[in-house]
Structures are given as C-alpha cells and as structure tokens.
C-alpha cells in the first residue's frame, strides 16, 4: 500500500536524510521524499498499519533532522 504525506523541511540534504530514515523504519517497504513538492511517498509492507508505522517514521526523521515535520 502506498500513501502520500505532506511534509515540511528546510533543506534538500535534510530531505535526503528523512528519506533514508523513513526507508530504514520497520514496516516500510520503500519511501521517497520529494523535496520540491514537499511530499513523502511511503510504501508499506503487507499487513502493516500505516498509522503506527508512520509514528515510527516521524520519530526516526526527527532523529536525523530535528527541524522537520510530517503531517499525518
């Protein structure tokens, strides 16, 4: 399942880091961050509940880039 989330982040490199962090979150199959459109597209593994996974994604993103936001 794929879902798109609006995000807010200031620099392109930070966006790359968010992407990396999201990809490495358990339950996430693949993730892309589109810095220019300020969007994050997350593909979840089968049987995962997006809401709980996204909480983890947000936590991991905050870890690598304090100044970011994902609008869940």
């Amino acid at each position: 399942m794929k879902k798109t989330y609006k995000i807010d982040v200031d620099c392109a490199n930070c966006a790359n880091k968010m992407e990396e962090a999201a990809k490495n979150t358990a339950g996430v199959k693949d993730a892309t961050v589109n810095f220019m459109a300020l969007k994050m597209i997350v593909e979840f593994e089968d049987g995962q509940e997006p809401k709980t996974v996204m909480q983890e994604v947000l936590k991991n993103c905050k870890k690598v880039e304090d100044d970011c936001e994902i609008f869940l």
Binding site: D10, C11, A12, N13, N34, V64
Partner: protein, 622 residues
C-alpha cells in the same frame, strides 16, 4: 517571504549592523570577544543548537556541524570578525536558497494553475457553488464565461469557445457546441455552457494531470541519486581531511623538520577547508533544476512523469512512431468505392453496420460516410480479428470487412486497389463485394516535426503501422522517415521495438511515440514512451512516461530539447560546483585562500547554481 524567512532576515540585518559597528570600534581583548559574541549568537544560535542536537542523535557530519566547528574555531583563534561573518554569510545563503526554492515552487504551481475551485449547479433557477468533489456523475453543471470547466462532460446546452492553453500550451481557441465532449481545465471564453458530467472530479482530466505533475519528481534521476550518495560520503571525508590538515602538518614540522609547528596557521587552514566543503550548492541545485525543467515542460503541454525520464529523453537517439493518430490525424475519410457488386450506398451500409462496435478510426469514418443513424440491433455475431478486420451478421447476412489478410484468412479472392490509402475489402454473403478506400490525412506539422527531430540530432526515425505497405511507404517518403515497418499486428510492434532496442548502443535511448490506443504495451516496452493527444485518454496517461497534451508532433522535438536543456544545466551545476570547491579546497590547504574565499566557495557557488537551475524553467523558445 514567509514568517520563518522574515525572522532570519531580521536576524541577518541586526547581526550585519552589529558587525560593522563593532569593527569600527577601538576594542581589544576580552571586551572585543564579549561584544562580538552578541552578533554571533544572534545569527548562529539555531545552527549551534542543530549541530549540538545532531551530535546527540549521532548525526554528526552535516553542514550545521561544519559551520559550528569552523566558526567556533575561528573565534578561538581570535578571528572574531571572520568567525561571525562566516555564520552571517552562511545564513544569507540559506535564506536565499529557501526563498528561491519557495519562489520556484510557487511559479510552477502557478504555471499549472488549472485546479478548479468550485462547480456551479442550478437549483430553483439559482446558481449554487459546490465543491467539485461532491458533484455526482450525470449532474448538469453550469459554466459561465471566464470560468474553468471543473469536471469532464458533454455539452447539453450552449455554444462557446474554449481556451485550452493551460492544458496544452496551445493558444488557439477551440469551438464547442451541444453534444461535444469537453474536458476539465479548459476555460470557457464566450457563452454560458450547460454540461452533463461524465466523470467524477477525481477521475477527470484535470485531477489526473495535477496528480501526475505533483508526483512527477518522485521518480529520481541518476544524477539526483549520485548527488545524495556523493553528499553522504563527501561531508565526513572533508571533516576528516580538515582534521588531518590541522594536525599532521604541524606535527611533521615539529617532529621531523624541527621547525615551529605554527598550529594557529594550520588550524585556520583547516577551518577554511570546512567552510568551503559545505555541499549545499550541489544538494539543492540538482533537484531544483529537474523540478524547474518539469515545471517548464508542463507549461508547454509536455508532461514528464519523473526526472529519470527527463534524463532518458535527453539521450534519445531513436524515435519510433506509430502512424495513425500520431503522424496522421486519424480522421479517415472514405475516398472511393471500387468494384462494388451492389449499390455503393448499400455496400457502405453493410460496412458501417459490421464495424459499428469497433472503436477503430476506420469504423468511425465508415459510419460518418454512411451518414445515417446506426441501428445496432441489426448486427449480430460480431467477431473482431485484431489486425485483420471484423466478421459479423447484418440483417442475418454474413458480412466480413477487413484488409487483405482477412481475405486470405477467409480464402476469398480479392482485387488489389491501386490507390494509396487504407482498403476495406467487403465480403457479403460469402462472395467478394468490392472494396472501400479510406485515406488518412497527415497532421499539419508532421513533416516539420521529422525535420526538427533530425535537426535535434536524432539518428534514426522509424514508423510502425498496421496499415498496408504502399500506404505506409508513401507516407514515410513524404515525411522523410527513414525506416518503415508495415502490416504489423499490435504484438508485432512490441517485437519490432525489441529488435531495435537490441541493435542500438547502451547510451542511445529509444523513444516510442503513439496515441495510446492499442499501443500501451509498446509505450511501456520502449526506453521512453511518449503518448500524444492524450487529453481524455486515461490508458495513455497511465502507460506513457511522457504525455504530450495536444496532438502536435512538433512537440516531440520540443520535449527532447527541453530535456536536453535541463540535463545540460544539471551537469553545468555538478561540474561548476564540484570544480570550484575542489580548486578552493586545494587553495585553502595551501594557505592561499582565506576565510573570505571560503565564503564565496560556499554561498556564492550555491547562489549561482540556484540561479542557473531556475533557467530550466524557461523553455518557451526552444
């Protein structure tokens, strides 16, 4: 400017004023240090905080860390002014970058400003504005002059001209009248239209296009991936490099050469090194170039589904065309009926009825030539044979209509036609009943389009068609297309494209251009699939990588030129930014470049790269 940016701007002004005032004051020692800490903290507190948090979260090597170390180092060496200035210029650069990115985001969304905000529904003689999302299929909506058509539908009342420029980049207005299909996103210019919707808002053309454009840069190009990888290794590498530069030379001087270590000088060089090394210019300008390129292209009616496709498109050397609907209008006209055993009209009637269930352009032209309403109840047992024709029963009589292959298949002798065009052979009640000649019309710009492609350096043009050999060859000759393969079934087209794919070199890409009808498999098999005239054709929008919104073949060359310009800018920025940085890094290590050169190498390069990236947006004159 948004709130965040304004706040940074105020901090920049305050800090800059303080620095100027403080450098004019005759202060020394601890007083100077104390006073310079004020502008330093005003401008740099958030960077220091981020750097500190980064260390806590084990994300040490980022630009905040670089800046924090460089400026704290400079201050520790007693260069208060330089340390503070580096932080100031870094912030100016960041502000400029965020402003430029915000501005181009806005620009591009304005270019694609086709999202309708409301739909008008008539209730008790009054117009009511509703959310287009809530309009059900079959509802009649009213579109007044100057308004956007919010949802796809059919005109039930009124005449008007439509401006399609937001969708196609084509400024020629389109006439519309009762019974015409209209697509959302067009602007109604002259008369009031009543439209019965045929789709939901989410399925309408305008939503599909917006969705496509907004998600386009999610598919990343090789250059973008290269830059993210580069940044990942580059920053730590430079940090260790700086550390080595600060420690090794003084140690060597002291221990091996027995001269003064000059710690201060080498640490200063190392700090300069750190300032230069910030990867911002690269990391921001590459995605920005692609974003601007895709935005500029959509303004010209060329939708590109991702930056990776822009990259492939720029390397295109082979262009393969479908004929019908791509190079020709696909509007066939019956131009002759030969060897008919019955009245011409009767034969036409059989042909039109037999083909009535097919959506093929040929069948439409037969129906048009027949000119009377079709009673589908008269047709039974319809069997469509792909690439051959149709067998059906009309009024209970067996009728077969199709090309020479169908005749061979049925084992019926037929007469060749000497005219150029598509020939529909007719078999009525088991005997050959003559043939109908249908000719297609070339698109107005078809010839210029091929010429423009050759001028753009395309090495080979190939046309694939299911049509007869003589028709195909004549058209290819007229247009200047080099190779032509005719009488192909849809599956043969895939094979032909595969053959061509094998022949060409690794770096030469093959583009297939089709109208999306019957050629979805080929569109997805080619290196890059270009669908044209795709307004309203969902299948084409899905299958293709690049969608040309109107059906002008000249846009193919334009799309390639836009892609090339964008990629050129991307490479310019990569070489320029990395080149300047490496030169400055060497100069810094040798002690020739000071902190001010370093600031240029960081902020200056970034500003230039961003401005260059924005150039990708301007593609109108290509």
């Amino acid at each position: 400017m948004n709130k965040k940016q304004k706040k940074v701007l105020i901090r920049i002004i305050v800090a800059a004023t303080l620095i100027v005032v403080l450098s004019l004051m005759p202060i020394e020692g601890y007083v100077k240090f104390g006073l310079f800490m004020i502008p330093y903290l005003v401008i740099g507190y958030d960077i220091l905080k981020k750097a500190f948090k980064g260390i806590l979260n084990k994300q040490v090597f980022d630009e905040n860390f670089l800046m924090a170390v460089a400026t704290i180092g400079a201050i520790a060496l007693g260069d208060y002014k330089e340390g503070t200035a580096v932080m100031l210029f870094y912030q100016i650069g960041e502000l400029f970058q965020s402003y430029a990115v915000g501005k181009s985001r806005k620009n591009i969304s304005e270019l694609m400003d086709i999202r309708p905000d409301y739909a008008n529904i008539e209730k008790d003689g009054k117009l009511e504005k509703v959310d287009p999302d809530e309009v059900e299929i079959g509802t009649v909506i009213v579109v007044q002059p100057g308004e956007k058509i919010p949802i796809d539908g059919i005109v039930t009342e009124g005449n008007s001209t439509l401006n399609t420029s937001a969708l196609t980049g084509e400024s020629l207005p389109r006439q519309t009248a009762v019974g015409d299909e209209v697509i959302s996103g067009c602007i109604n210019m002259t008369g009031v239209l009543k439209i019965q919707t045929t789709k939901e808002f989410g399925e309408s053309t305008v939503s599909k296009i917006l969705d496509l454009v907004e998600n386009s840069s999610s598919k990343k190009s090789k250059s973008e991936n290269f830059i993210s990888k580069f940044a990942k290794y580059y920053t730590p590498a430079v940090c260790y490099g700086a550390l080595a530069l600060a420690i090794l030379p003084p140690l060597v001087r002291m221990l091996a050469m027995g001269i003064a270590p000059e710690w201060g000088e080498w640490i200063y060089r190392a700090l300069t090194f750190l300032v230069i090394s910030c990867p911002c210019a690269l990391v921001i300008s590459i995605p920005l170039s692609f974003f601007a390129g895709i935005g500029g292209a959509s303004n010209q009616g060329v939708l590109v589904k991702g930056s990776n496709y822009l990259e492939t498109l720029a390397q295109t050397k082979y262009v393969v065309f479908d004929k019908t609907g791509t190079m020709t209008q696909g509007v066939f006209e019956v131009s002759g009926i030969h060897h008919s055993k019955m009245e011409n009209e009767k034969l036409l009637e059989y042909a039109a009825l037999a083909e009535s269930s097919s959506g093929h352009p040929i069948s439409k032209s037969l129906q048009k030539a027949y000119g009377k309403p079709i009673d589908r109840n008269r047709v039974t047992d319809v069997e469509e044979i792909s690439g051959n024709g149709v067998i059906a029963k009309v009024d209970g009589i067996a009728v077969a209509a199709g090309n020479a292959k169908l005749m061979k298949r049925l084992g019926i002798e037929y007469k060749e036609c000497h005219h150029v065009g598509t020939v529909v052979h007719m078999v009525v009640d088991g005997t050959y009943a003559g043939h109908i000649l249908i000719s297609d019309i070339l698109k107005p710009h078809a010839k210029e389009a091929i010429h423009a492609l050759k001028k753009a350096g395309i090495s080979k043009t190939v046309m694939l068609t299911g049509d007869a050999k003589n028709v195909a060859e004549q058209i290819a000759k007229e247009l200047g297309i080099e190779e032509v393969c005719s009488e192909l079934l849809p599956s043969d087209k895939v094979e032909k494209v595969e053959e061509l794919l094998k022949k060409k070199g690794e770096k030469e890409k093959l583009a297939f251009v089709g109208d999306g009808i019957n050629d979805a498999p080929v569109l997805s098999r080619a290196d890059i699939g270009i669908a044209m005239g795709a307004l309203g054709s969902d299948a084409a929008i899905e299958a293709a990588d690049v969608v040309l919104m109107d059906d002008d073949p000249l846009k193919i060359a334009k799309a390639i030129k836009i892609a090339r310009k964008c990629i050129r800018i991307v490479y310019e920025n990569i070489y320029f930014a990395i080149g300047i940085k490496i030169i400055c890094l060497i100069l810094g290590a040798l002690g020739i470049a000071n902190m001010w050169t370093a600031i240029f190498a960081d902020v200056g390069v970034m500003v230039i790269a961003v401005l260059n990236a924005i150039r990708a947006l301007f593609v109108k004159k290509l």
